[in-house]
Amino acid sequence: MIRNLRRTSQGLFLLIFLFLFIQTESKGADELGYPVRIFLECDPLLALSTFLSSHRIANGFLLSVILVVVTIALGRVFCGWICPFGTLHTMTGTLKKPSKKRSHTNWHKIKYYILFFVLSSSVFTAQLSGIVDPLSLLIRSLTLGIYPAVNYLTRALFDTVYATGIPGIVEVSEFFFTLAKKSILSFHQTYYVQAAGIGLLFIILLSLNFYERRFWCKYLCPLGAFLGILSRFAVLKRSVSEGCTSCGVCERICTGGAVVDESGTWKISECLYCMDCDDLCPHRAIRFGFTTNMGAVPMNLERRHLIASVFAGALAVPLLRIPPLSRTGVFTPTLIRPPGALEEREFITRCIRCGECMKVCITNGLQPTLFEAGLEGVWSPVLVPTIGYCEYHCTLCGQVCPTGAIQKLTLPQKETTKIGVAIIDTSRCLTYAYATPCIVCEEVCPTPEKAIWFERVKTTDREGNTIVMKQPHVDLHRCIGCGTCETHCPVKSKPAIYVISTGETRSQDNRALFS
């Protein structure tokens, strides 16, 4: 039964995907050791849009040529057999009884309009594909919302048992907890801003399967649309023999909504190649095979609607670009980008918002922006030192970025790349304003030639006694803006030492110092 083969394939690729997702995490070594971004690199929509918007293509994206060739030859087998997001939709869809009604044929066009919108804006250098691309969306949603939630729930359950302290039960529970930690749980619980919203959006998209199976794949997925266009002349085709009695079973069960009427007219660009009709036809009249017969009907897209999407995509770009951020030399102090990030304008044309960097960030410091980078930069990564600092010897974000928006740095490069600079507010630093010893910042500063030095200053306390206070100073030349000082400053709610983006190596203009 070819359906079972397909299901096995879907399951296998989903497992591989989830395995690589879970491996996108530090184990303590310098290199990650797994090809965690391989799914993204096979994605031709991301490859094309990144190329259009930044006029560069990262080496890894050569893998997407494989998927293009496969689709041209075999049709949308990726959607039916490989795509992990598609598999999740298939699995959710099994909870819904197959409907007796036909699907909404008109809605198939929407995904093409989305595709053309996104490609059009890419031509005008706005990189929006990652927001709607299924693989990018899946990784981002799992990273920011679903996986942290699963972790939280699992840990809460085990912690509750642990807290009871009942001898035999705790041992058994801890045994399974250790197993879970070794296999599926993250090293530590991660927290992200907007987690609830992104998680909820993901759940809503999956819930659409209760309305119609594979709703996203049929009506919304721009990658599906792209592959649909490529599949126009595929040689792997669906053929109907003379045994067909026009009973309409295939039409009802068609996952992609590709079989459009009782006569079995088949839209090849909508077919997900799930092969259900091959297995389930009561008269065994349907066969998927290699043939050069032109039995397929093309997707009927109204030209004016397409042109409208193209125009909309193009017009979106200037609308996104009118805020002053990084266009007129205005810089946001809190927009601290990961080390290795390109200069902001180029960064924004390449970042696909996949969330890989946020997943791998060893301290959980990389968070998704909302509007801090402008609307165009939504969900791109920003370092928030109060949540996590940039670990001095860690280069993982550059290792996982598929587009090169964050360049992979060597260790010597990483140690000298500045992402900002630390500023001390002496009105709330304990040693300046409150005659209280501290200098935790000096202790945690990782630069070998300390970027924080202390000065011994004679001062008086409230009773009038003279005391010698060690007061910290930042060396602007040596500070790399990693934020570990801010993370560890005892003035917890409003750190007395904090990082601003000025001084970042990647920017020619956002700097205070002459040299």
């Binding site: 530090s26 184990k27 303590g28 070594a29 912690d159 642990y162 807290a163 090293f187 060893i362 301290t363 670990e391 001095y392 010897h393 860690c394 304990l430 209280t436 010893p437 501290c438 200098i439 935790v440 000096e442 202790e443 945690v444 500063c445 990782p446 630069t447 070998p448 030639e449 300390k450 202390f454 060690k470 560890h488 400053c489 005892p490 917890k492």
Partner: protein, 300 residues
């Protein structure tokens, strides 16, 4: 032989056996803590000098008993490789683990509450690999195992401490000697911050007294100070090889204050220059007057 001869032979044999047993007993309990307080071993191989220092104190069997659950508490605080002298020498740690097992310990645990990411610290320091190879149970800190402990110190009344450290039968402190911005030097007493939970940075505000309070609460079986390499500037993290000095020394003893006082000499200062040593001496936690201690120097 007649009965008298038999009785004579038996009596002398019995006395002989008794005497060797007594001598043995006396040897174990007199040579050790009563004869040597601190052993300072110098030599090229960290494992050899660690073993030699402990031997000079009477051997590991004097400190670790059969079926003990032992915690070896090294400094794994920083994401630095061994040559940067920010964490305890992995060979020293591994040797301590091996010795404990030789003394019949049931389980030897190695852990530290790191400052940088624990995965990087454990891996880059080389300590996880070396200790595991020696058979230790190396695990990351489990935040659930911090419990508030009443300390009743001068400034610390209570603080979350790691229960696995407190519940062990024996705990061996295995620090490395380094400079430190606020504390001037960090050695054994400061190393106990690695079993503290919560926001430890706050104790910087009453650092010397807090360290004495914690050290008093812990009561280590043995302190083994790693001075194979010391960080002579820009500590406690370092990061420049030129700040590392190779002293090829290991110091072992049971008096926390005295060990730190002796370690101060490696940096050209005295124990009384360190606030926590001075206060530890005043409160009776230990003594900083090295002249009153029996210190044995071994060169290999």
């Amino acid at each position: 032989m007649n009965r008298r001869d038999f009785l004579k032979i038996s009596l002398f044999t019995g006395l002989g056996v008794l005497m060797t047993g007594t001598l043995d007993f006396l040897a174990n309990n007199l040579t050790a803590s009563n004869l040597i307080d601190i052993a300072v071993a110098q030599g090229k191989t960290p494992s050899t000098i660690t073993a030699a220092a402990i031997d000079a104190l009477g051997g590991i069997g004097h400190f670790i008993s059969k079926n003990d659950v032992v915690v070896v508490k090294p400094n794994i605080g920083w994401d630095r490789r061994p040559e940067y002298a920010a964490n305890t020498n992995p060979e020293v740690v591994a040797t301590l683990v091996t010795l404990c097992y030789e003394a019949g310990a049931k389980k030897v645990k190695v852990f530290d509450h790191t400052v940088n990411d624990p995965r990087r610290c454990y891996t880059q320091s080389g300590i996880a690999e070396a200790a595991e190879a020696a058979g230790a149970n190396v695990h990351y800190i489990d935040k659930r195992k911090f419990k508030k402990v009443k300390i009743d110190g001068r400034v610390l009344k209570e603080w979350p401490l790691y229960t696995e450290a407190l519940e062990a039968d024996k705990i061996i402190n295995a620090p490395i000697a380094k400079t430190h911005g606020l504390a001037t030097l960090t050695m054994g007493m400061k190393n106990w911050m690695g079993i503290m939970g919560g926001w430890r940075g706050r104790i910087h505000q009453r650092l010397d007294e807090s360290l004495v309070d914690i050290a008093t609460a812990v009561k280590p079986t043995l302190v083994v100070l790693d001075a194979v390499r010391v960080l002579s500037a820009n500590g406690p993290q370092g990061g420049r090889l030129q700040d590392v000095k190779r002293l090829n020394t290991v110091v072992a003893g049971t008096d926390q204050v005295a060990i730190d006082a002796l370690g101060a000499a490696f940096f050209g200062i005295e124990g009384r220059d360190l606030g926590y040593v001075r206060i530890g001496h005043e409160t009776g936690l230990g003594t900083m007057d090295l002249s009153r201690l029996r210190i044995k120097k071994i060169k290999i």
